[in-house]
Assembly symmetry: C2
Homo-oligomer: 338 residues x 2
């Protein structure tokens, strides 16, 4: 399986490391041999039909270099050209999320599909902006399109709902979908410290970003609600359809009172056919959504199984690589089965 990596930040490098670690196991367990034939970052490309030496490329980039510093690398080679010119089976789209335009990921994915490449992405932007268009394009182009890594990091909630719980009608999805806000709320609840103090500490620890708006105002969680609603409930939702309230107004008094009465405050995203919402909610202690720290959790409400919840780490390069590689194996299996 010939792979192209578009984006070589934390996630791209995490995937490269996992591919190095897992190469042998993927072959022995699934008969899957992978070869990365091109890697692209914002400065240019490394292309090698015989396989890019990932160990060497990681050394270059982690030593402060750029992808085109790789031997034979091409400066200012646009990603779209690599996508169209380099013969490959799968394109990994791993550029940063832009929830306004979906770019540059949206164009990368469209070009890759039209060129007949299967696409795996962690990028919420294109999914929030053009979910149904991309699903349609994948179908027309007869390629597979997977985006497990876009919601819940390592948690394979979309495949859980669509494949493993296939006998069920899924009626509602509720989730703690943002690790940063969960960390902040957990610490506020445990230590009685105000929001802005915990936020500052989370920023120092690298758990919250310098501009924390997307996280603390619930927008990142709302993007995930949109993706879950579209992927699992078959809706055609956009970000503007989600009623969003963040956690800035949650006080230590509220978290303390909740705790004393057997509850905990969580930023919960809800996707139901008649409601898309993100807001702080009281969750009973002992409920699967009452997870602490940076954990994410999603509860699926169904007719037969009633409630199934899945919990795990919602971010991190290794965890995201788990989802990306899971998608790759899944494509290998379904393409192999044709």
């Amino acid at each position: 399986m010939r792979l192209v990596l578009i984006g070589f930040g934390n996630l791209g490098r995490g995937l490269a490391r996992a591919l190095l670690d897992k190469g042998r196991a993927l072959h022995s367990s699934y008969g899957l041999r992978t070869k990365v034939v091109a890697v692209v970052d914002e400065y240019g490309a490394a292309v090698d039909d015989g396989g890019v030496n990932l160990r060497r490329l990681l050394q270059i980039v982690e030593g402060g270099g750029q992808v085109p510093d790789y031997p034979g690398g091409k400066r200012e080679k646009p990603a779209v050209e690599v996508i169209e010119e380099v013969e490959a089976d799968v394109v990994f789209e791993l550029t940063p999320t832009n929830i306004e335009t979906g770019e540059p990921g949206l164009t990368h994915i469209q070009r890759a599909m039209r060129a007949g490449r299967h696409v795996i992405t962690s990028n919420k932007g294109p999914l929030v902006v053009a979910f149904s268009e991309l699903e349609r394009l994948a179908e027309e182009s007869e390629v597979e399109f997977r985006y497990s890594a876009s919601v819940g990091g390592a948690i394979p909630v979309i495949d859980l709902a669509k494949n493993l719980l296939a006998g069920n009608e899924i009626r509602a999805i509720r989730g703690v979908l943002n690790g940063t806000t969960n960390y902040i709320l957990t610490r506020m609840s445990k230590e009685g410290v105000p929001f802005d103090v915990v936020l500052r500490e989370a920023q120092e620890l690298g758990i919250a970003e310098k501009d924390p708006t997307l996280d603390v105002d619930g927008i990142d969680a709302a993007c995930k609600v949109v993706i879950l609603a579209n992927a699992i409930l078959g809706m055609d939702a956009k970000l503007a359809d989600v009623k969003v309230t963040g956690i800035r107004n949650v006080t230590p008094e509220v978290t303390k009172l909740a705790r004393e009465t057997g509850y905990t405050v969580k930023l919960v995203g809800v996707a139901k056919p008649d409601l898309l919402e993100v807001a702080p909610k009281l969750v009973p202690l002992g409920h699967p959504l009452a997870v602490g720290g940076t954990l994410n959790a999603v509860t699926l409400e169904m007719d037969l199984a009633r409630e199934i919840s899945i919990t795990g780490f919602g971010a991190g390069p290794r965890e995201t690589a788990s989802a990306l590689i899971g998608d790759m194996i899944s494509i290998h299996r379904s393409v192999g089965a044709r």
Copy 2:
């Protein structure tokens, strides 16, 4: 897909009801048409090549009748004869669990496989007694063998581990695998009531059985540890390999002290290559295993995704039907893909 149901107790009737409810959806979503061509209980069989009328059979049995009271039903027709004589694609083995001999389920499953039928079971007995033999026989007989319903009720933990987290090396499994003991421990912890008082109430509510030994002494959980170890970790474990401690010695003082220090007491099953164990353990509040009531939860520990947990209702006819139907769709997909 022609189906045979062996066993028509709570689980068999739950499956029949779910098949009635879901017939149309299974066809429209997956192109899967099902027909139950035989049902067997301990008194005899109902066989109908054109399809047993499940609604009618349910009325008969729920009105106090037996399966052979169905029009044309056969008294004292042994299950093994039905399994071998009635042409079918899938045999559902749903008889009660016997963890000493695995019978009668073990013989039913072996005969079904040798007759070329795919097998789906909820029965822990045959899996605890002869896991690797049955896996081998399925392979030799070129049939599919699924047993999602044997662990965790509606929770598809085996497929989660083997398919959705396929890129990961799974190193350990920890689980709250028995709903009855979880209910008892949750109530002891919340209300400070002693074990035997809560047990008696649980028996009155039908949550615990009259002879609660298998549950409260940890044996049911140990069976599930054996199945998880064999199915997910590729071990060849038997029940005798599991170190088992039940919950009889857990006092309200212990559960109270745990709670005051941010923990909760759970009966936890552990499966690791070097340890198979069931024992009461302290679990931090906010950890995915700290689920209350009759919920079950399983945490998988892996190299890439670190920890993924899945939670749901571990028992009940509807929940079990979710797992049985999920297995049936999975067989339909994998056989269809050949």
